[in-house]
């Protein structure tokens, strides 16, 4: 079972629908026991960094998340959930994140003819050939965001060009993040969710 963490922010139903469409056994939950024993974890999120972190803290989910990551459970953050993997964000003052990947979340720079937020489909360039998400190379995925992760290149699996190089997929060990919405990225997105599901199954087999 993959636990989709329910912490009361954003629209998580479309993530569930997409996971179920590709055959994943997903459960929306905030229950510590369910999250603890899940084979994989998805942290969704839309909205503001600080209020999302506040909610995770209020529900005392932060130590739990860190613990499952340490035990090797495959963990996927989506959109704001991806940004929260990093050490901090500058959205409304500096707010600490989960600190699972070194780096800081900063605002997209103002540039001529490039609106902030970035809204729409952007083309991914693969940066790490051995990734479970390598099929993304050259494919478009759907982005909606005003902030992006500035992090060391070794954590960037794929990136898109939006005046600056925006990390689209990041990874550190068993922690993955997608800045775009795989659940809104058509077949490409569904295949990425399938790849994560496979990783969850492989980890589950290896640990039993």
């Amino acid at each position: 079972m993959i636990a989709v963490i329910d912490y009361g922010v954003g629209n998580v139903f479309n993530v569930l629908k997409a996971c179920r469409y590709v055959g994943a056994d997903v459960q929306l939950t905030a229950d510590p026991a369910s999250i603890q024993k899940a084979d994989g974890i998805i942290l969704p999120g839309v909205g503001a960094f600080r209020s999302a972190m506040d909610r995770l803290n209020q529900q005392q989910l932060v130590p739990l998340i860190k613990d499952t990551v340490k035990r090797g459970t495959p963990f996927l953050g989506i959109c704001l959930g991806m940004q929260m993997l990093f050490a901090s964000s500058t959205e409304f003052g500096v707010t600490p994140g989960l600190g699972l990947i070194p780096g800081q979340v900063i605002r997209l720079p103002q540039q001529a003819d490039l609106q902030v937020p970035q809204v729409g489909w952007n083309q991914n360039r693969l940066q790490q050939d051995d990734s479970i998400f390598r099929d993304i190379d050259g494919c478009y995925t759907y982005f909606v965001h005003s902030y992006y992760a500035e992090c060391p290149a070794k954590y960037v699996v794929a990136s898109v060009d939006y005046g600056v190089q925006v990390p689209a997929i990041v990874q550190r060990g068993n922690v993955y993040g997608m800045q775009f919405h795989p659940e809104k990225s058509g077949k490409v997105g569904l295949n990425l969710l399938k790849a994560f599901m496979k990783e969850v199954q492989a980890h589950d087999l290896a640990s039993n």
Binding site: N14, V119, G120, V144
Partner: protein, 253 residues
């Protein structure tokens, strides 16, 4: 690079797509799920559903449509038509909509924009604006109620105001061009593009492939919306995108 978007719009009446969509491979020409799936196959970047139901069950029906479509079709879905409250927005977003479009309700109650953006984020709030050029004042003017009622608002002022209130995107229809198939109102979108820095979707006037290439070469809008030319297969989304790509406009193929 960010791709320019091609967005079909579907009018939904009581849960059924109005104006028989002319896809020969569809058994049920009014089924929103089948039509959405077909547009996904053709390469649509997003879908807009406009609820034109006049009975008062509209909200329940539309939520049901959105729920069903979002279980099968995985691209951004915008829903508009008769949404007057944050509660109505929430219901549609929970059903699977990604964005809510408000038009007359935003003019009547601009705070609705701020309330929606505060609760769901600016990315979820699209303000739809229907405009017509007023030769007397030499200004684009805002109309409401499906273009029936003139307002005193200038389109440029109103666009700037709604962005300040939290609109994340604008869907701007030129009533002068709508249905004419004579091309998009380039002058309008050039002015708007200077005035605001949120993404703009242009609507009204699409008739030929050249209309799309001109729109993207001469304005900075990021999306183009069309209905009948796609429904009746006068153009396919793929043809339009191929032509755009040939002209060097970035599109998702």
């Amino acid at each position: 690079m960010l791709a320019k978007r091609i967005i079909p719009c579907l009018d939904v009446d009581n849960g059924r797509v109005k104006k028989g969509v002319n896809f020969i491979n569809l058994v049920d020409v009014g089924d929103p799920v089948a039509i959405a799936a077909e547009y996904e196959r053709q390469g649509a970047d997003e879908l807009v559903f406009l609820d034109i139901t006049t009975t008062n069950e509209r909200r329940a029906t539309m939520a049901d449509v959105v729920e069903k479509v979002s279980q099968q079709v995985f691209m951004p879905l915008t829903v508009g038509g008769g949404i007057h409250s944050v509660a109505a927005m929430e219901k549609l977003l929970q059903a699977g909509a990604d964005k809510i479009a408000i038009n007359s309700a935003a003019v009547a109650n601009p705070t609705l924009i701020r309330q929606g953006a505060a609760k769901f984020g600016s990315q979820a709030i699209v303000v739809a604006i229907d405009v017509s050029f007023d030769p007397a004042s030499q200004q684009y003017r805002v109309f409401t109620h499906g273009g029936q009622q003139a307002t005193a608002l200038s389109a440029i002022d109103w666009a700037q105001r709604v962005v300040q209130l939290g609109a994340g995107e604008l869907l701007v229809t030129s009533m002068d061009k709508d249905g004419t198939k004579s091309g998009f109102d380039l002058h309008l979108y050039q002015q708007l593009g200077q005035a605001v820095d949120v993404p703009i979707i242009a609507s009204g006037g699409a008739g030929t492939i050249t209309d799309f290439t001109q729109l993207y070469q001469q304005t900075n809008v990021t999306g183009a919306l069309a209905a009948s030319i796609f429904h009746f297969k006068e153009l396919t989304i793929n043809n339009v995108k191929q032509a755009l790509a040939n002209k060097g406009v970035p599109v998702r193929l």
